[in-house]
């Protein structure tokens, strides 16, 4: 009985803490302008199924994709077992599903155990790859301090959680009256052979509690970690940009103004004007930008494909996403802080180095769009501050005065037809 009460207390505490985290996330998201991406729901579900559930954009890097899918499937399926943990914890029983499911139960746990071993293996591979793989995107200057630790914490935690699960089963398998006829458990049970039945019970229960509390702790760790992508990948891909990749959405206020200039009889359908053209801070971005930032898993695929970053420029699309997220968190933590995303977190030098090549957008396995943020801040710089580099101002003056980015007269556009 006491155990059941303790279980419920811990569970409630874990759930309440997580709910607080989610409320905080929603406050972060609500900071941005609302999303207009509610159209074509069936297409959105399809993109979500393909990219998030089906890992559709991971294929470019087969080794990473292979181990990632193991951890991903392992994570999702082994959590089915959490269901039993909950039921056992609430009812105070042990392996409540074993008797009713019979052979099916043994098969399922066998499967989970093997998957668990594979997950441990994959996490070890990932840790080694990060540390010794000589992979630029992991040794990159974006990832110093916390982001680097975060990656390691996640991998170690997953290993520890899986080990706890296997130890629990193995300790039970080592008991004379244990009912744990599972492959991995049986294989490692001899390790516990020297222990008394009482000690084995303790190990078993200890591991059970460890796994349960561990899962709750991990759940609460997610929202401040890049690992939040395991949940946010789903809504994030749902809010993907569905229209042509090369389309920058038009600003309606600008359209109205120009139409009125060109045609004095034009009656605008609305007089709404944005508080600010483009984005200076996170509040000027739109919902999907901030969701992107919270979802970013800091894998650096975008940065490793970025032509500016590959040639030593300061711009890194991954850093754009990390800066956006950090700035949103800063607004939540220190509302009085007057730093802004532009200049405070992202420099002009970075913004002007972008070629708008879309390589980052293509590379992101989660359909994150760093270019959208870059583009909106450039709009702010040019439209609100007239702060483009001088050479770009020359280009724009030319477009305005003679309809080409260079200073050639428009009347000469057809000259090539008469030249030889």
């Amino acid at each position: 009985m006491i155990e059941q009460v303790a279980f419920l207390l811990v569970l409630t505490l874990g759930a309440a803490l997580f709910a607080r985290r989610i409320i905080r996330l929603r406050r972060g998201l609500a900071m941005a302008r609302p999303s207009e991406r509610h159209d074509q729901p069936s297409e959105r579900w399809k993109v979500m199924a393909r990219v998030a559930l089906g890992q559709g954009k991971m294929g470019g890097r087969p080794v990473a994709a292979f181990f990632h899918v193991i951890v991903y499937v392992g994570f999702v399926l082994i959590n089915v077992e959490v269901l039993e943990i909950l039921l056992d914890g609430i009812t105070g029983q042990h392996r409540i599903l074993q008797a009713p499911l019979g052979g099916l139960y043994t098969a399922a746990i066998n499967f989970f155990e093997i998957l668990g071993v594979l997950v441990i293996l994959a996490c070890v591979v990932f840790l080694l790859r990060r540390e010794f793989g000589g992979i630029n995107r992991f040794n990159h200057s974006d990832l110093t301090g916390w982001p680097r630790q975060d990656a390691a914490i996640i991998l170690y935690t997953e290993i520890v959680l899986m080990v706890a699960l296997l130890v629990m089963n193995a300790a039970e398998a080592a008991l004379p009256d244990g009912h744990a006829p599972f492959v991995v458990a049986q294989a490692i049970a001899p390790l516990f052979a020297g222990l008394s039945p009482k000690a084995l019970h303790h190990v078993m229960e200890g591991a059970w509690w460890f796994h349960f509390v561990g899962i709750l702790a991990f759940l609460n760790y997610l929202p401040q970690s890049k690992h939040f992508h395991i949940i946010l990948a789903f809504p994030n891909t749902w809010y993907s940009k569905l229209d042509a990749r090369g389309r920058i959405p038009a600003m309606p206020a600008v359209t109205r103004e120009i139409k009125a200039m060109l045609d004095p009889s034009y009656v605008p359908d609305s007089a709404e004007s944005p508080a600010r053209f483009g984005a200076k801070d996170v509040q000027d971005l739109h919902f999907a930008n901030v969701l992107n930032a919270y979802t970013c898993t800091e894998c650096g695929r975008c940065t490793s494909e970025c032509p500016a970053n590959q040639t030593g420029k300061k711009l890194s699309p991954r850093k754009i996403m990390m800066a956006t997220r950090d700035r949103v968190e800063q607004v939540l933590n220190e509302p009085e802080n007057t730093q802004t995303l532009l200049d405070g977190w992202i420099s002009r030098e970075e913004l002007w180095a972008c070629t708008t090549c879309n390589a980052c957008v293509e590379a992101c396995p989660l359909n994150i769009d760093p270019l959208d943020i870059i583009q909106q801040i450039r709009q702010y710089l040019v439209m609100e501050e007239s702060a483009a580099p001088a050479s770009l101002n020359t280009m724009m003056n030319n477009v305005e005065n003679n309809a080409a980015p260079w200073a050639y007269p428009q009347a000469d556009r057809g000259l090539w037809t008469t030249e030889n």
Binding site: R247, G312, A404, Y408, R413, W416, T418
Partner: protein, 263 residues
């Protein structure tokens, strides 16, 4: 020296009471840049030889606004776009072909929202259709045995998912087609996009076009083919940087095909 091309403007054709099948949108580089003008002329010759009825806007053409928009100047972009749409609609233009992937992207993807919906083709797509219809015939002989590597323009490939048309055209040249490691979806930008063409690059270890030209040269090509006047400039400069201009040519696909046909 080749003869001057006599390409009619839409105004002239309209005056004669004629209507072309397609409008050739030449773009700013294609109109003014000496290197790009060669691409423009090569493509116009291919259209003429295929018997396509086409016209240009001439002095009525204006920048699509792409570099202004990507630099962040939405106002200037829309000024250009709305004015262009007015001209295009006044002539009842329905089909547009262009040799510039940036014009292509803007006309195709960004004008509809502002009221200008047209059927827009990149010239490699258009040439591929002419080839399929048997209107364009390519004699591959001149390039036989030469190695060609194609550099994907970002705004044709990654942005508009057209990887096939340029390659299909190149394959008619009976040349040896090869690929760079970073090609198609992973094609590395030449460094010109997003208005970079009009400014100095930010500080770094290397210019992007040098990085890309180096990769292209590592395939030991006789020809680096492109489908964009800006990529062409960037790759030409890159090849010069490595002092390979004597042995490696940078050609637009339209130029390669026109050369094959001795046009």
């Amino acid at each position: 020296m080749m003869e001057a091309l006599h390409v009619p403007t839409l105004a002239e054709m309209t005056q004669r009471g004629e209507k072309p099948d397609v409008l050739f949108w030449v773009g700013c580089a294609g109109s003014f840049d000496d290197r790009a003008k060669k691409i423009t002329k090569a493509f116009a010759r291919l259209l003429q030889r295929s018997g396509v009825s086409f016209a240009v806007l001439g002095a009525e053409e204006s920048c699509t606004g792409d570099p202004a928009r990507r630099a962040g100047n939405e106002f200037l972009f829309q000024m250009q776009a709305l004015a262009n749409i007015e001209v295009l609609q006044a002539y009842e233009v329905q089909r547009i072909v262009t040799t510039c992937p940036h014009c292509f992207n803007t006309l195709k993807n960004e004008y509809p929202e502002l009221g200008g919906s047209f059927e827009v083709f990149h010239h490699t797509q258009y040439l591929q259709t002419l080839l399929k219809e048997g209107k364009l015939k390519v004699e591959g002989g001149a390039f036989k045995g030469k190695r060609i590597v194609f550099h994907d323009p970002c705004y044709l490939g990654r942005v508009n998912q057209e990887y096939e048309a340029p390659r299909a055209l190149l394959s008619t040249l009976e040349a040896e087609l090869t690929e760079m490691r970073r090609c198609k979806k992973q094609g590395l930008c030449c460094g010109a996009g997003g208005a970079q063409m009009f400014k100095e690059p930010e500080a770094g270890d290397k210019d992007i076009n040098h990085e890309r030209a180096e990769e292209a040269l590592s395939t030991e090509p006789a020809i680096i083919a492109t489908g964009c006047p800006f990529c062409n400039t960037m790759m030409t400069d890159g090849v010069k940087h490595f002092e390979k201009e004597g042995s490696v040519q940078v050609l637009d696909i339209a130029e390669a095909i026109a050369q094959a046909d001795e046009l």
